[in-house]
C-alpha cells in the first residue's frame, strides 16, 4: 500500500523552503501515518532528491502532518537546475508513492 492510498497531499515552496502536507481520511489512518512517517523517515525519502533536514508538525485535530525542509530549495525557484520552473509542485509524490506495507482496511 502507498501513503497515497490513505492520504492526500500537496507541496509548496517559499524561497529555500520546501513544505509538504499529508491529510489522512480517518483518525486510524492519521495515527498510522503519525507513527510511521517520522521527520527522519520523510528526510530519507526527500534526501534522494533535495538536501537537508526535515521538521514535522502534527495536527491531529485535522488529521494532518506537515513536513518542512528549510534548506531543500537553495536559492529558490529561479536558481533551480531542473527543467522549467516549479518542479517542486510534484515533490509530494516523494511521500505519496512510499510503500507502507499491508493494511487491514
Amino acid at each position: 500500500m502507498r501513503i497515497g492510498d490513505i492520504a492526500c497531499g500537496r507541496a509548496g515552496d517559499k524561497a529555500d523552503v520546501l513544505d509538504l502536507t499529508l491529510v489522512a481520511y480517518s483518525d486510524r489512518d492519521y495515527a498510522r501515518l503519525e507513527q510511521l512517517v517520522t521527520a527522519e523517515y520523510a528526510a530519507r525519502a526527500l534526501n534522494r532528491v533535495v538536501p537537508g533536514a526535515v521538521v514535522r508538525y502534527e495536527l491531529p485535530a485535522l488529521w494532518a502532518l506537515k513536513f518542512v525542509a528549510p534548506t531543500a530549495l537553495a536559492g529558490g525557484v529561479h536558481a533551480s537546475l531542473r527543467a522549467g520552473l516549479h518542479w517542486q509542485k510534484a515533490a509530494i509524490w516523494l511521500l505519496l508513492d512510499l510503500e507502507i506495507g499491508e493494511t487491514q482496511r
Binding site: 497531499g9 491529510v23 506537515k66 537546475l81 527543467a83
Partner: protein, 458 residues
C-alpha cells in the same frame, strides 16, 4: 488627494468603522498573475459577492514588473491589468468592490491606467485608490536580512504591507483598491474587516479565510487528487469555480462555490490549502495577526460548502517581512532535445553521455544536470522506475553559466547533436534564466508607512 498615515499609530482596531450588515461575502477572483479571467467575472455577475479580491503577484511576477519599470517609469504594473479589470469595473461601479495587487511594482501607474479604463467604459466617477509604500529598495541597508548579502545587484525590495491601508481606502469610499506587495491573506481579508468592523479573533478569522482563498481554485478542486475518489471530469475542471466566503461578525465563515459552479470544495481540500506554504501551523505570521491553525475546525455543511471555526490569533508582529531580489552574475541555460522511435532511449542516453563529456571537458562547466524528460527530469533520483521503453523522450540540460556567451556555447552543443550526434535528435527547445535570488528580511513596523493616492484619468 494624498493621505499619509503611519502603520503603527493607526492600528486597525483603532479605526472607526461602520458595520453595514451582519455578513460579508468576499470572492477570490484570481490566485496568481496568469490566473483565469472568467471566474471573477462570473462572481461579479452573480450579484452574490460584496467584494472580489484578485491576488496576482508572486516573486517571479514582481521581478518581471521591476524590470519593466526599470526601462519605463510609467510601467511596472501587471501587464494583464486592463484585460482583468475591464469586465469587472462596471460591477465595481454598482457596489462590488475590487481589491487587487495588480499594482505590482507601480501601483500609482496602475491606478492611472485603471482610471483611464473607467473613463473609457463611461464610469469616470469610479473611486480608485492606489496603496503606495511597499517599495523599500532605497532602504535595503536598513533591512535585517536573514542571510549575508555578498555579491549581486539589487533588482528591488518590498515590504509586505497589511490590511490597514486598504481598509483606510475603503473607509474613504474606494470602489477599487490597487496595491503592490501586500500579504495575500490581508489583501483578501481587508474588505470584510472594513465592512463588518471586525476586531480581535474575528480579524484572525478573516485573515485565515484570506489565506484559504488566496490561491483561488486550489481550494475548490484544483491541484487535488484524493485516494479512491475519481478526479474531476474534463467539463468540471475546464469550468472550475473559484471560492467565495461568507464571513459573519463573530469571524465564523463558510467557504463555498456559487450554485452551478463545478468543483470539489471539501474538508480535505480546505485542510490542504490551510497548510499550504505554511511552516509552523501554530504560528502563521501575517502583518495583521499571528494565526494559530491547530485549533481550527472544518465541517462540511452542504455540497461544496465548508464551515470554518475555531481560529485563534495573537497580536500582530512588531516587524514586517521584506522580500528582496538580488541579481547574481551569470545565467541558467535550460535546453532540451528529443529522440523518438525504436531505440529512442538508448540514443537519448548516448546523447546525454556525449553532452556530459563536452560540457565538462571542452566548456569546463561543472554545475549542471542532465536528465530525461518523461523519465527523471522532475523528481530526479526519486522518480519511479522505468518499466518499458518510452516511444519518445527528451534529453534535458540545465547549466549554470558565468555569462551569456557560455550559455550560448552550451545551447550550441545541444544543437550540434542534431547533425553530428545520435540519429534523429531534434525538436530542440531552449530558454535562458537570469539568476535572481529571493532574500527575506525584516523592517520595524514603526518605520514603515503607507500612502493612499486617488487616481484620475488625466
Amino acid at each position: 488627494m494624498t493621505q499619509t498615515f503611519n502603520a503603527l499609530i493607526s492600528g486597525c482596531s483603532d479605526m472607526a468603522r461602520r458595520p453595514s450588515s451582519e455578513m460579508f461575502t468576499i470572492g477570490a477572483g484570481a490566485g496568481f498573475a496568469g490566473d483565469r479571467i472568467e471566474p471573477a467575472v462570473l462572481m461579479a455577475q452573480s450579484g452574490e459577492v460584496d467584494a472580489i479580491a484578485l491576488e496576482c503577484l508572486a516573486e517571479r511576477t514582481l521581478v518581471n514588473a521591476l524590470r519593466m519599470r526599470e526601462s519605463n517609469s510609467e510601467t511596472g504594473h501587471d501587464p494583464r491589468l486592463a484585460r482583468r479589470l475591464r469586465p469587472l469595473l462596471p460591477h465595481a461601479a454598482r457596489g462590488c468592490r475590487v481589491i487587487s495587487n495588480l499594482g505590482a511594482a507601480n501601483p500609482a501607474a496602475a491606478g492611472h491606467t485603471t482610471a483611464r479604463l473607467a473613463r473609457d467604459l463611461g464610469i469616470p466617477s469610479l473611486r480608485i485608490a492606489s496603496v503606495i509604500g511597499d517599495d523599500v529598495r532605497d532602504r535595503v541597508d536598513e533591512v535585517k536580512w536573514t542571510q549575508p548579502i555578498d555579491d549581486g545587484t539589487w533588482v528591488g525590495a518590498h515590504v509586505y504591507l497589511g490590511l490597514e491601508p486598504i481598509v483606510s481606502a475603503l473607509d474613504e469610499g474606494a470602489d477599487v483598491v490597487i496595491t503592490g506587495r501586500v500579504a495575500d491573506s490581508s489583501l483578501v481579508a481587508a474588505a470584510p474587516v472594513q465592512a463588518l468592523g471586525l476586531t480581535g479573533d474575528a480579524v484572525a478569522a478573516a485573515l485565515t479565510v484570506g489565506h484559504l482563498l488566496e490561491c483561488s481554485g486550489q481550494i475548490s478542486g484544483g491541484n487535488l487528487t484524493e485516494p479512491g475518489v475519481p478526479d474531476l471530469s474534463v467539463e468540471e475542471l475546464a469550468r472550475i469555480g473559484y471560492p467565495v466566503a461568507d464571513i459573519s461578525q463573530d469571524g465564523s465563515a463558510t467557504i463555498r462555490l456559487l450554485d452551478g459552479h463545478p468543483g470539489r470544495l471539501n474538508v480535505a481540500a480546505c485542510t490542504l490549502q490551510l497548510l499550504y506554504e505554511v511552516h509552523d501551523p501554530r504560528s502563521y505570521i501575517t502583518p495583521d495577526a499571528v494565526l494559530d491553525f491547530t485549533s481550527i475546525r472544518f465541517e462540511q455543511v452542504g455540497h461544496n460548502r465548508v464551515r470554518l471555526s475555531g481560529v485563534q490569533g495573537s497580536p500582530r508582529p512588531d516587524r514586517l517581512k521584506v522580500i528582496g531580489f538580488l541579481a547574481r552574475r551569470g545565467q541558467i541555460a535550460d535546453i532540451e532535445i528529443a529522440y523518438a522511435g525504436t531505440g529512442a532511449l538508448a540514443r537519448a542516453r548516448l546523447a546525454a553521455d556525449v553532452l556530459r563529456l563536452r560540457l565538462q571537458r571542452e566548456l569546463g562547466i561543472h554545475d549542471f544536470v542532465i536528465d530525461l524528460v518523461g523519465v527523471n527530469s522532475v523528481l530526479g533520483a526519486g522518480s519511479m522506475p522505468l518499466h518499458c521503453e518510452p516511444p519518445e523522450l527528451r534529453v534535458h540540460v540545465s547549466a549554470r553559466c558565468e555569462d551569456a556567451e557560455m550559455a550560448q556555447a552550451v545551447e550550441d552543443e545541444i544543437y550540434a547533436l542534431t547533425i553530428s550526434g545520435p540519429a534523429g535528435g531534434g525538436s530542440v527547445r531552449s530558454e535562458r534564466r537570469g539568476r535572481v535570488e529571493s532574500l527575506a528580511g525584516f523592517l520595524p513596523r514603526a518605520s514603515v508607512s503607507a500612502t493612499i493616492e486617488w487616481a484620475s484619468a488625466a
